[in-house]
């Protein structure tokens, strides 16, 4: 078991390394292959009416004149051992993990990301609670009353849920509930839960529901399918034959088996969301990791792009790892695979 865990962790770290190299290559190597010079890189970050000398100096300062490998090495070193940042007037120490400083705002990327994380975590976890509860409950009820009006209506709504783009449901709900009726927050504001839980929930409720609607639909369908499959299994028939009460059969035997794949998928979905719900955050102007990523790309802020990609990849890889390890605990055969 221990070797399995170690093997998987090493694998995860290697995966992150690959992701970082590919990302770095796309932003630093590909443009160069297309003919961009170090000065072209720097030209994005100079002010109005900058002289060619200024552009050249900035290219030096931001390190674009070094070979790409050296630039990548510097980036990795910053994460592992920290780095020093030239503020112009002096040097600022940036402790590990240092993902560099924004080329535009000159803020340390890592601090910015940590700053945005609570928003995304709030969004993802609140939405997750709603979608898991609503989705699983609907799925179980639908499966138990297969073919009923409830089942058809629920599955119809679920299918609608997965068929609507979140940026459409988001803006429609904003227009109706926030701008129109004024009963929910208009988006764009965030209060930490530690400061004021009520306001935190008020600000997040619409994004939660919008995001949860999308996922709940999928989970309801999965749960229903899973329940239908397990309830048809032989061991359920055996359990019933033993004379166990129906409630016990459903919860202890049926649901448990049906939920196993749901847990897996939940882990991965949640990991992906922690790395930024790009569309939801954009629609509701929430300053989370996803919106940070979009802004970084629009502004071509390379250190920020690298940082946010790594954070997102980290969550996905970590979620994968946790799910796999949990499986290994449950099912010893996996360890040998």
């Amino acid at each position: 078991m221990v070797t399995y865990i170690i093997r998987r962790i090493i694998g995860a770290v290697l995966m992150l390394a690959v992701v970082s190299m590919v990302t770095f290559a796309i932003f630093f190597v590909v443009p160069r292959a297309a003919g961009a010079t170090a000065d072209d890189f720097a030209a994005r970050y100079v002010g109005k009416s900058a002289t060619e000398e200024t552009v050249g100096n900035l290219a030096d300062r931001l390190g674009f004149n070094d070979p790409v490998v050296v630039q990548y090495g510097r980036w990795v070193k910053g994460i592992v051992a920290g780095a020093e940042y030239d503020t112009g007037a002096g040097v600022e120490n940036c402790p590990a993990p240092c993902f560099g400083y924004s080329f535009i705002s000159h803020q340390p990327v890592w601090n910015d990301l940590l700053d945005r994380l609570p928003v995304t975590v709030s969004l993802a976890s609140g939405a997750a609670v709603i979608w898991v509860l609503a989705g699983v409950a609907t799925g179980v009820l639908s499966a138990l009353r297969k073919g009923s009006v409830f089942d058809r209506a629920a599955m119809g709504i679920a299918l609608a849920g997965v068929s609507l783009p979140v940026f459409f449901t988001g803006i429609v709900s904003l227009v109706i509930f926030s701008y129109g009726m004024g009963i929910t927050a208009p988006g764009g504001s965030f209060t930490p839960i530690t400061e004021n839980p009520a306001e935190w929930a008020y600000n997040m409720i619409l994004p939660w529901i919008t995001l949860a609607f999308l996922y709940a639909a999928g989970y309801a369908r999965l749960t229903r399918a899973g329940m239908l499959e397990t309830m048809g299994e032989d061991y359920i028939r055996t359990a019933r034959a033993k004379g166990l009460p129906e409630r016990t059969v459903i919860t202890k035997h049926g649901l448990r088996a049906a939920l196993t794949p749901i847990v897996t998928i939940f882990g991965l979905d949640f990991g992906l969301l922690l790395g930024g719900a790009v569309l939801t955050e954009s629609t509701f102007s929430l300053n989370g990791v996803g919106k940070f990523a979009i802004t970084a790309i629009l502004k071509n802020d390379l250190p920020q792009i690298m940082g946010v990609t790594m954070l997102t990849a980290f969550f996905v890889v970590a979620a994968n790892l946790i799910v796999d390890l949990l499986y290994a605990v449950v099912d010893p055969r996996v360890r040998l695979a």
Binding site: A36, Y45, K48, S49, T51, G88, L298, N300
Partner: protein, 588 residues
């Protein structure tokens, strides 16, 4: 380009401005609202009420002024910003040598001394400018402000490798020693040949050539004093040291700025600031539509960007008389236009360029920028009307496109059946996208086929439309563009966008199409002309030449529909910024 709006003067000579200062010193604040008990909403809302006069004047202190902005903000460091909103706002925490008189309309375009006792005294034929600092002005930590702090601030703002955002006027005009690179890299180089500080109250600027309008330079945020000991380059923006009536309480980049009263600011040293609110709360990164809604609902006082409401709010604002009464609709010293790039055949032929202008649907272009209120008036020249020397040009029709004339021009240029070219625009700017779409439709009627190319705003000038190489290789014949004046005169508006010698092969150019030795010669004449009226006339001539040669297709002289938050006092649209003057707003 980052500059959101612009300063504009009609015809203020330095001397005239000096004369006006004498009576402008009291700021006309003597007339107060009667029965200030209700204070906040004493005045009746009226549309354009703050355009020409101060709306709801008051001297009542207290309260929190709530501001918000949805757009980006480069920096609040006075030496590192090029946004009009920060040039306007920073005066609540920083005092430049000279500044624009807080007041409505033309009054706001007057220069008045701020940190200095009076406007600059020229000598040596305008090559040397001397300012005396007021006595008793202190930083927020109680340290006295000396001329050395001003000198240091100016010199540091010139390090464009560290503080990249600000303007480069001091770099271009001060008589610097060759071996001076930057206050950070070459701190020991003697710079007295550029800026002298004979004593703690006196500062003397030496230029490399005469310039009669140096007071405009002295009004740049770069002259806001910075204590050398507290300067840490790019990080100074996180803890700017105040010299004005407010100081930063909290700086959360991209999220929020809060400012509170600076106890070390002495009203006796400051004749222009009222310092009414107790607090400023400025939220950043707010959803633009939400910002408008909050402004209309009265939860917010000011949209800092001052660029007007979003399209969604526009119809609501204009159709509801109660809200419309709370709007101001100033014309800015900014022109939105399309560069017609002569480097790309067949646009190297003047008649082909003219064909583009004739064929364009000028009403359609106005609509693209938001129509008559939110967009602006149809422009017939590059230079906007509030700039000295502007005259109405009538070279081209301004209707919905003249296909006949366009076809005649096409025939004259040897392409009677039209031609094909590409048009660049900033893909993430809906108004420019609409401009490109409108032109594509209108030009097609005359046989000119446009292919539209959207490029990201962040790289538009650095890598795409502003890079001559790229433009030629990709045959970009047209490119959307826009320019706002840095300040009130022809120099402040035209020098960056019509002088072909500013064009650099490495990119980052804003002048995409005006390349004409005749125009360059006119500009040189304007630089050395010391008589304001003659200088203005020269800039007017530059404008005319640009239009005659069909280098640009102007769309609109920009206007904006701004909503006054409820409960504000002392509201005035400053002629210097064409947005609310942030210096003397009150909420009590």
């Amino acid at each position: 380009m980052t500059k959101k709006s612009a300063a504009a003067v009609v015809a203020a000579t330095a001397a005239l401005a000096l004369g006006l200062t004498a009576c402008g010193g009291g700021d006309g604040g003597t007339k107060k609202t009667e029965g200030g008990n209700s204070g906040a909403s004493a005045a009746k809302d009226v549309a354009n009420g703050a355009l020409e006069a101060v709306f709801n004047p008051s001297d009542k202190k207290g309260g929190t002024l709530k501001m918000a902005v949805s757009e980006d903000w480069d920096s609040v460091d006075p030496g590192d910003t090029y946004y009009a909103m920060s040039w306007n706002l920073l005066r609540i925490y920083g005092r430049p040598l000279v500044t624009f008189n807080p007041g409505a309309g033309a009054k706001g375009r007057e220069l008045v001394p701020d940190l200095a006792e009076s406007l600059g005294t020229p000598s040596d034929g305008g090559k040397t400018w001397t300012y005396k600092l007021r006595a008793g002005v202190k930083f927020e930590d109680g340290a006295a402000i000396t001329s050395k702090d001003v000198k240091y601030a100016v010199l540091r703002s010139m390090d464009k490798t560290t503080l990249v955002n600000g303007p480069t006027y001091f770099n271009d005009w001060l008589d610097l020693p060759k071996d001076f690179k930057s206050v950070y890299k070459t701190p020991d180089v003697n710079t007295d040949q550029a800026i002298e500080t004979p004593d703690d109250q006196t500062i003397v600027f030496h230029l490399n050539r005469p310039y009669g309008g140096f007071d405009y330079f002295a009004a740049l945020p770069g002259t806001v004093p910075v204590p050398k000991a507290k300067d840490d380059g790019v990080k100074y923006r996180d803890h700017v040291v105040a010299s004005g009536p407010y100081k930063f309480e909290k700086v959360e980049a991209g999220k929020q700025y809060t400012l509170v009263r600076n106890e070390n600011w002495d009203p006796a040293t400051d004749p222009i600031r009222k310092a009414l609110p107790d607090r400023y709360e400025i939220s950043l990164g707010v959803n633009a539509d939400d910002l408008d809604n909050r402004l209309i609902a009265g939860d917010l006082h000011v949209d800092v960007a001052g660029s007007g409401v979003q399209p969604a709010a526009l119809s609501r604002v204009l159709s509801d008389p109660a809200i419309k009464a709370r709007t101001d609709n100033p014309t800015q010293a900014r022109t939105w236009y399309t560069s017609i790039i002569g480097d790309v055949p067949p646009l190297d032929n003047i008649d082909c360029r003219k064909a583009v202008i004739y064929a364009a649907d000028r009403v359609g272009l106005q609509n693209a920028y938001g129509g008559e209120f939110a967009g602006g008036d149809i422009a017939s020249s590059l230079m906007p009307p509030s700039i000295g020397g502007w005259k109405k040009l009538d070279l081209y029709p301004t209707g919905t496109g003249d296909v006949e004339k366009a076809k005649a021009a096409l025939a004259a240029c040897g392409h009677p059946d039209g031609f094909e070219t590409n048009m660049a625009y900033r893909a993430d700017r809906p108004k420019e996208k609409a401009t490109a779409e409108s032109l594509q439709q209108a030009l097609a009627k005359a046989g000119i086929k446009l292919t539209l190319k959207g490029y990201p705003t962040s790289d538009y000038f650095a890598l795409y439309a502003g890079k001559p190489d790229f433009v030629k290789k990709n045959s970009i014949g047209l490119a959307t563009n826009g320019w706002g004046a840095d300040w009130n005169d022809g120099f402040g508006f035209m020098s960056q966008i019509t002088d072909s010698r500013t064009i650099r092969a490495s990119g980052g150019n804003y002048n995409l199409s005006v390349k004409n030795p005749e125009i360059d010669a006119l500009i040189d004449k304007a630089y050395v002309e010391t008589d304001t009226a003659k200088r203005d006339a020269l800039w007017g001539e530059v404008d005319q030449k640009v239009m005659e040669n069909a280098y640009v297709l102007p769309s609109v002289y920009a206007k904006s529909v701004m909503v006054r938050g409820t409960g504000m006092t002392n509201v005035a649209v400053s002629g210097a910024w064409d947005m609310y003057d942030y210096l003397n707003l009150g909420v009590a």
